[in-house]
Symmetry: D2
Subunit: 132 residues, 4 copies
């Protein structure tokens, strides 16, 4: 997988508190790693909510490992889009994920169209249909 | 949905620390709620690993709300099974989830067959095929 | 120690995620237990900040144990007060703590006098001097 | 404060999940930052337990800020020692802390003498008396 295919990359490092009693990174922390990617791309509190999260666990992650989350937009719809994530620890694949992000207007409490600047920034020119 | 259909129920309560800057429960905490269900059913550290986690977020959850996670086994395979979860806050549905649990032998580092007592406990008499 | 001496009691339960790789509750989670007490007494976001936290760890806490935090106001000053906490797990003392809570006006970013209703609620009739 | 005075320095970065509903880093996360320092210095699970933790909160910390924890050994006793911590965010002091670390033999469940190599590594030649 090349950088071009997953253009957004964030880095983090495993903390001792990320481990659970198995001595490996707890599954919920992968949701946090993937959230770091979303927040880096979309900002914090800017009109989106997370509709769905999928995580496939590929390998255990240990204390103090260097984390990278590689992300790309794999679907753009009218009011939602998908981010596909690859979580690497010390360079090996430890999880794959998918975030379904929904445009949301907090003032009305309703979903809203994904704005053009966000579409351009995500590099998806043509809107694909919503998922079944 | 009746209790019979989701026979395993655990209860929890939202802590202040479960909130994020949106003032609602952070998405990663739903992974923790669902983990509470898995650990209550399967025990802690007893030959299973989490292969995949899916979460569909249906509503926001607020501070101090009472949480229930209702769980059933929705698929039993040779070496893995699915748990289907419904997360309720103050009685309303806030998330649905699915855990793919894989039998795992830590001494060999390999997957293993789901033992009969676990199959009986999960109330799944007939083994269904693995997912595609 | 009688209930009268520590009039505020909250209950919680250890989650699997509260454990670290020692298989016991991580030290930072005691800060969360004590925060649950503060938020139950003072509310959430109502003009106070935490100035100092002290925790003395007396015993290890394990998965699924029932937690109680017993709290009393042990000092009332002009612009700050102390809460003294006793954290029990399955009835035994596992930690003692002290929170120094400071009155804070978010609109001005300055400390402020502890209001009379809070003083009465905390059951401290006479204001003691600030700590040295 | 010079590097010589606080010889141990670790770096971290604020995650979105570290924030609470005040939009600032939650107090329990400072315990995690300080734990990162202890684990970097002492290793993970190597014969020490945390006896006491003190945190003085000096300023709010925001999302994505660079964290440094500067640590020195400020007291060495027979069976315990103190680590003094300064937590910086984007270079400004946000918290000061103290960890009382106790030598602990997990096989016997008892305290034990701090080994010479640890004393040397902490740069404290002369053993001071235990705290009152």
């Amino acid at each position: 997988v090349t950088t071009t295919e997953f253009p957004f990359v964030i880095r983090d490092r495993v903390r001792f508190r990320d481990l659970d009693s198995s001595d490996h990174v707890n599954n919920s922390v992968y949701a946090t790693f993937v959230e770091q990617a979303r927040v880096a791309i979309l900002g914090k509190g800017t009109g989106f909510i997370l509709g769905r999260l999928e995580l496939d666990f590929r390998d255990q992650t240990r204390h103090d490992e260097e984390i990278e989350v590689h992300t790309r937009c794999s679907r753009m719809g009218e009011k939602s889009f998908d981010l596909e994530h690859r979580v690497l620890a010390s360079g090996r694949l430890v999880a794959e994920g998918r975030s379904v992000v929904v445009g949301f207007d907090r003032s009305t409490g309703r979903s809203r169209r994904i704005p053009e600047p966000v579409r351009r920034m995500l590099g998806v020119a043509t809107a694909n249909p919503e998922p079944a």
